[in-house]
Amino acid sequence: MTSKALLSVRSLGVAFGSEHVVEDLSFDVEAGRTLAIVGESGSGKSVTSLAIMRLVEHVGGSITQGSIHFNADGVSRDLTALSDKQMRALRGNDIAMIFQEPMTSLNPVFTVGDQIIETLLVHEELSRNAAREEARRLLELVRLPDAEAQLKRYPHQLSGGMRQRVMIAMALACRPKLLIADEPTTALDVTIQAQILSIIRDLQSQLEMAVIFITHDMGVVAQMADDVVVMHRGRRIEQAPVADLFAHPREAYTRALLSAVPRLGSMSGEDLPRREALTVIENGEPRTIGGNSTQDTARYDEAPLVSIRDLVTRFDIRKNFFGGVTHRVHAVEKVSFDIYPGETMALVGESGSGKSTIGRTIQQLQAATSGDIRFEGKPLAQMSKAEQMRLRQKVQYIFQDPFASLDPRKTVGFSIAEPIRTHGLIDNRRAIDARVGELLERVGLEAHHAGRYPHEFSGGQRQRICIARALASKPKLIIADEALSALDVSIQAQIIDLFMELQKDEGLAYLFISHDMAVVERMSHRVAVLYLGQIVEFGPRRAVFESPAHSYTRRLLQAVPVADPGARRDQPMLEGEIASPVRSVSDEPIILPLSETAPGHFVATEKPVGIPA
């Protein structure tokens, strides 16, 4: 490390009150290079970026020790010693930042153009017209189609990916020497993520700026970084060039982190999903949990548990003056599949593909427009109230966000006991308490946790509580709607293992709804790929992943960042937005017929319309 680095952080410490969030952190960022700071939630990676921007004081923290030297234009300045005024001149001008949530970091009441122009007027001496011209140029730089028209649009009229491009354009407005990107693609779909990553990479080499890329995603690190700092609980665990780190991780924590990352293609050649032993760090010591076994739980010889035929779910959204419907969301269009006992059936697709709506319709949270859902042979439409109640006992739903899916005012014991009491499975209080304790232990928690409230648990623990709650009514099918997406990778790996263990022991079937191809590959027996509410490809996992037949499936697989820096792909990324499922009333979608290309492997006919090639 040379002292000529653009930014050099030395033994930085950040504290909130008496709590030390970052301790003794040192690293350098050289001009034109990308440093990735990677770590799980609570590792202090975002706090570090806020400290560099000196925004950490705004959120109640303080820099307790160390220095942050910024060397530009032949001057070396210690950012920790600058006044607020000096810092304001630097922010946006020399150091710029983009945030995770493109939905909330733009002001909704100003047009995109006004917001970029404002940034330019603050820092550069430009006339309004010149600023406007520059704003247009910036939007072209981030490859927004029809930049001139975009300037006049409001943030809500843009998709998430487009908003993130606007954020990048704003960050680049003054040609910063350092760009800090805090999880810029976490909230986006994989295909859009791939586009944003390639834009950042191209602009970096064009503008020769340094980038600090903060992420939890090892795949993104492998794609983007030159150097990597691994953080854990506020400390630097390891720093290395990206190739070295992936090839020879020195520290146990890094190894555990890398081994927990689900890798696309890791299951090649396997017919069935497989449980693999995984290493977890407990009290600083690595420990191996789980074992290796093949997940041969699916019972295709039995009658299907759930059969869905020609399911259609639509929502009316726009109405004309007289209350007549003019537009509908075509969430699900003629979808048919079966779920067999003990099977993990995965639904994959991007936002708006209708994958969650299918799950919600099976769970009766959403009425179907037409079509047939049968549970153990009996159509839902013909069920009595009592039978519908029984269905709510036998089919359980796990939501994406474990922070939102437990009632904050109830103890977790109450929440877990609720399905038992609702369905009258056990009627004496002491037996219910015993069962709750048993369920908590089943998911790896302790029985005495029943008296605590949800906020006292971490995300992973809360998702375990949700699983315990789902198990309470002895279900046959669990619908897991993005149940792993909000979790850190190491926790994710543990929950996957728990899901598989429960499937093996209890013969559970899962409807696994996810956008994460690598996790789906790891867990599922069969996969259905959805695009705009229709199944475009459907078949055994191995067939879909190893010989994807539909162009959309191939696009989806291609966009997944691979956690291997050697496999960095520089082929041109696919452009275009995710198509919208909103259609006007007279414009019915064309149903793509499925044809069987191999036993059990169905592929929709290619239709160029609506699917950008």
Partner: protein, 292 residues
């Protein structure tokens, strides 16, 4: 434990400071509300005459001059202390019962219209809009003209005019809560609507309702006085805090004690209720409690 629960920075320190403040809040609230409540409850025993004994010779005696009248006397020579304590009966009854009634009706209406939407929502909310468009005094005059005055009618009038506030507040909270995942997941399990409404939704929206309640108790004690002043409320010969405040107004420059003590009684009651309300709101919220 596979992964440790994250703790928010600085949480421990603020939590400690908060919990001692909380205890103080509770003790003060109990002393104020309990003291005033007990005094009012036993007012008949403490002042058998009800403070209505007139002694024109001792009119407008200042406080602490004559120990028979520690808080002085009013223009008719009646004992201010006795009247403040006896007057609490009407004021507290009106204040507490009217708020309780309005909360029950308003919360149920708000829960139902927010959760089910549709027809009921339209009916309840349009009715609420119509009612909000009527000025309170107009409503009061019309109502009293039709059904007559008196304690019970005054309380009914206040309930009728105030349930809308709670209904709108609750409906708004329900609309934002009903699509949250924990409500969805309760529905997915098959929990009955009545339990979702009262076990899940109600505890989560009680905080703002409690705040509005404590504000309205004070408001209603004063409203009762205005109504009585206009001849629309309770029999004006029965003492009440609001009524005494209004009576003493004309003597404010020469005999401040006539109106200051009933005013102080209202102030302390409201302060006590506010403290208890805040304490209750925070105690009901498990996220605010110190972690064990």
């Amino acid at each position: 434990m596979p992964d440790a629960a994250p703790s928010r920075p600085g949480q421990a320190k603020t939590a400690r400071r908060q919990s001692s403040f909380k205890a103080l809040e509770f003790i003060l609230g109990v002393i104020l509300v309990g003291g005033i409540g007990l005094a009012v409850l036993f007012s008949g025993f403490l002042f058998p005459g009800g403070g209505s004994a007139v002694d024109l010779a001792a009119r407008l005696t200042p406080p602490l001059v004559d120990m028979a009248h520690p808080l002085g006397t009013d223009p008719l020579g009646r004992d201010v202390l006795a009247r403040v304590i006896v007057g609490g009966e009407i004021s507290l009854t009106v204040g507490l019962v009217s708020v309780a009634g309005a909360v029950v009706i308003g919360v149920v209406m708000g829960l139902v219209s927010g959760y089910y939407r549709g027809f009921w929502d339209v009916v309840v909310m349009r009715f609420a809009d119509v009612q909000l468009a009527l000025p309170f005094i107009l409503l009061a005059i019309t109502f009293i003209a039709i059904v007559g005055g008196g304690l019970i009618n005054t309380i009914v009038l206040l309930i009728v005019s105030q349930w809308v506030q709670y209904a709108r507040l609750v409906r708004g909270s329900v609309l934002s809560l009903r699509d949250r995942e924990f409500i969805q997941s309760a529905r997915a399990i098959g929990v009955r609507d009545i339990k979702i409404l009262f076990q899940h939704l109600l505890p989560n929206l009680l905080g703002p309702v409690i705040v509005l309640m404590t504000l309205n108790v004070a408001n209603n004690i004063l409203l009762e006085a205005s109504l009585t002043f206009l001849g629309l409320g309770v029999d004006p010969t029965i003492p009440s805090w609001g009524g005494m405040l209004a009576e003493g107004r004309t003597y404010l420059q020469t005999a401040w004690w006539v109106s200051v003590f009933p005013g102080l009684a209202i102030l302390l009651t409201v302060l006590g209720l506010n403290l208890l309300g805040d304490w209750l709101r925070d105690t009901l919220d498990p996220t605010g409690r110190t972690r064990v």
